[in-house]
């Protein structure tokens, strides 16, 4: 096998908003896939009965569980917002460089706003 560098060969580029958001989309996608373990655990615990559900609620409600859920919720909102950005690109919209940067900032802002909003709503229940 030859030793030439293979694409995506990222290390020669200076990080830019566009490239950072692009790799974050992948990173959050992988994180969310791993995070489905939490979701499946929670659903399976609820299916097993009140005792196992109470145990799951205790684990997820601990500071570590809440931290995981907080990070997971940001990953979800980021992947969701940036996914919508990708769907606009798939439709052929928003390819001008200024627009790409604008939509990038909108995605970052909306992921943070939605995360804060969700947790404020959760704790004001």
């Amino acid at each position: 096998m030859n030793r030439r560098p293979l694409s995506p060969h990222l290390q020669v580029y200076r990080p830019q908003l566009t490239s950072v958001l692009s790799i974050l989309h992948r990173a959050t996608g992988v994180a969310l896939s791993v995070g489905t373990l939490l979701l499946v655990y929670w659903l399976a615990a609820a299916a097993l009965g009140p005792q196992s559900y109470a145990t799951a609620q205790n684990i997820l409600g601990s500071w570590f569980g809440l931290l995981l859920l907080f990070l997971w919720s940001w990953a979800l909102f980021y992947h969701l917002s940036n996914g919508i950005r990708h769907l606009f690109w798939d439709a052929g919209q928003g390819f001008e460089l200024p627009t790409v940067y604008q939509s990038g900032y909108v995605v970052v802002a909306s992921s943070l706003v939605l995360t804060v909003l969700a947790w404020v709503m959760a704790f004001s229940q």
Binding site: R26, S33, T36, L37, P50, L87
Partner: protein, 132 residues
């Protein structure tokens, strides 16, 4: 001049015989997941702190059961398609790539089936215990 037969060109499936199915299903599940994930997070916020019977009743309501199953199938389908691309892009050792692709598929299908069965079990138990 193309060396492909007219039939192959009309089918548009390319050399992998799959055409754009992978790309297209990634988008179909993405579009489905936009409203579904927002609905799910909003519901979790409303129901997560509630007691067990409330959660069971929420899962067991027919519309919620249906939306949960559709959400779970879309999530795991979307995750399998996405992780497949990530593995194919970054893992170049042939045997390792195939081992990871296989185990990723098996693991996510197992998780997805457990999740769907859990939702259905909660829904059916809710009905049965209400009938007692």
């Amino acid at each position: 001049m193309s060396l492909r037969t007219p039939l192959a060109r009309a089918r548009g499936l390319g050399s992998a015989k799959e055409g754009v199915q992978h790309w297209w299903m990634q988008r179909v599940t993405a579009v489905a997941l936009v409203p579904l994930s927002l609905w799910f997070v909003a519901s979790l916020i409303a129901v997560a702190g509630a007691d067990y019977p409330t959660v069971v009743a929420w899962v067991g309501s027919p519309l919620n059961t249906a939306l949960l199953v559709i959400l779970l199938v879309s999530v795991f389908y979307h995750a399998i398609l996405g992780l497949q691309v990530v593995i194919e892009d970054y893992i170049h050792r042939e045997w390792l790539k195939h081992a990871l692709l296989l185990s990723m598929n098996f693991a996510l299908i197992l998780l997805g089936v457990v999740a769907v069965i859990s939702v259905l079990r909660i829904a059916f138990v809710a009905v049965l215990s209400a009938g007692v």
